[in-house]
Symmetry: C2
Subunit: 194 residues, 2 copies
DNA sequence: TTACAAAAACTAATCGTATTAGTTATAATA
DNA sequence: TATTATAACTAATACGATTAGTTTTTGTAA
């Protein structure tokens, strides 16, 4: 029926590589098109524009991260699973700095597809936290605590915003310890009340 | 000697208002110039370009936030001061969503002026944490924990990334409780060792 | 009071990328 | 082999950032 040169998956996966190489602020359609050996307008046969591509990259990143987190928690449970999931998140984020920026910035548009991409991730987190002796509502709060810390800390690392020369790895480890210990006290308090 | 129409402070303060209104992704020099009643090239007599303006806005935001945090901890100490400082950070961030995005994205360029702007903020945090029974190194780690959580959580709130309908205010309160309780266990452990 | 000079503001022009309009080429299918 | 859907192309447009060069203003000093 027509030429079978590009397809949207090629554009997205190549875009993901390029955005990690040059950063979110420098990625252009022109660059992606040249990389794929076509002229810029040809991309418009597969995407509606730069904004949609960034949305697609955001979804691509979250789906990949979900896979990594799911793999990381196989065979572990409870607080060990929380720890493993946090490390998987952090490692994916710092391995993919450009893509992670896209994931953060384009997470704002709330539509069905966005929900679908991130809901899988949250259901993993929810299953982990639900195995603890904590109310469902507090599980949801805790997921927000973890999301907040993980997104913020990863962003700070990627931006090289920590001026102090002390170890970033130790900061991350201690932070996770702090949060887990904090959650444990919550569990005890709630256990006492019930 | 010359006309005294604009100065850089007018551009920055007006830019800060506008970026909160239209968002980081939509702010343009053209918009700021029109708002100030001049043509776009006139801005170049005061700034080197859009990038420098964003850097200046980033510094402006961090300095303002530092003031807010310092005021918030007057008269309180220990964990109450940590709590007050965290709330001051969060409230400033959600009151200034566009500017806060600038603060996050342009925090990457590490020069003397950047350091100066954020070092004041960190010295406040360091004074607070130093009053606890925690080693200096761990104080620095804890500051990173707090920065990570506060930046990430605020970003999630500003982007409306929390799909779940449960209260964001309660999530923040519980998160701070978790982190403070986590820090307390750290303090006890270290106290026991010493 | 008036001429000067520094600096700000202006107009005109350039550049780069996104996007759109309209044309050409390809490949599956009838 | 002819058709046709569709992808890729060329050409053109739009818009903002930036630069070059000109004009205007205003404090200072003759």
């Amino acid at each position: 029926m027509a030429r079978n040169g590009l397809d949207i998956n090629m554009i997205i996966s190549r875009g993901a590589q390029l955005v990690n190489e040059v950063g979110l602020e420098n990625i252009t359609l022109k660059m992606i098109a040249e990389d794929l050996g076509v002229k810029t307008p040809s991309l418009y046969n597969h995407i509606t524009g730069l904004e949609e591509l960034k949305m697609q990259l955001m979804l691509y990143g979250w789906k990949q991260m979900e896979q990594r987190i799911m793999q990381s928690v196989i065979g572990v449970s409870g607080y060990d699973a929380i720890r493993a999931g946090c490390y998987a998140f952090y490692e994916y984020a710092i391995e993919n700095p450009g893509l992670f920026n896209v994931m953060l910035w384009y997470n704002k548009f709330q539509n069905e597809e966005t929900m679908e991409a991130t809901s899988g991730l949250f259901s993993v987190l929810f299953k982990i936290t639900s195995s603890l002796n904590i109310s469902e509502e507090n599980c949801n709060h805790i997921i927000r605590t973890l999301r907040g810390f993980l997104e913020g800390f990863s962003l700070l690392v990627n931006n090289e915003s920590f001026g102090n020369p002390i170890s970033i790895a130790e900061s991350f480890e201690l932070s996770i310890n702090i949060i887990i210990e904090g959650i444990k006290t919550l569990e005890e308090i709630q256990g006492g009340i019930e």
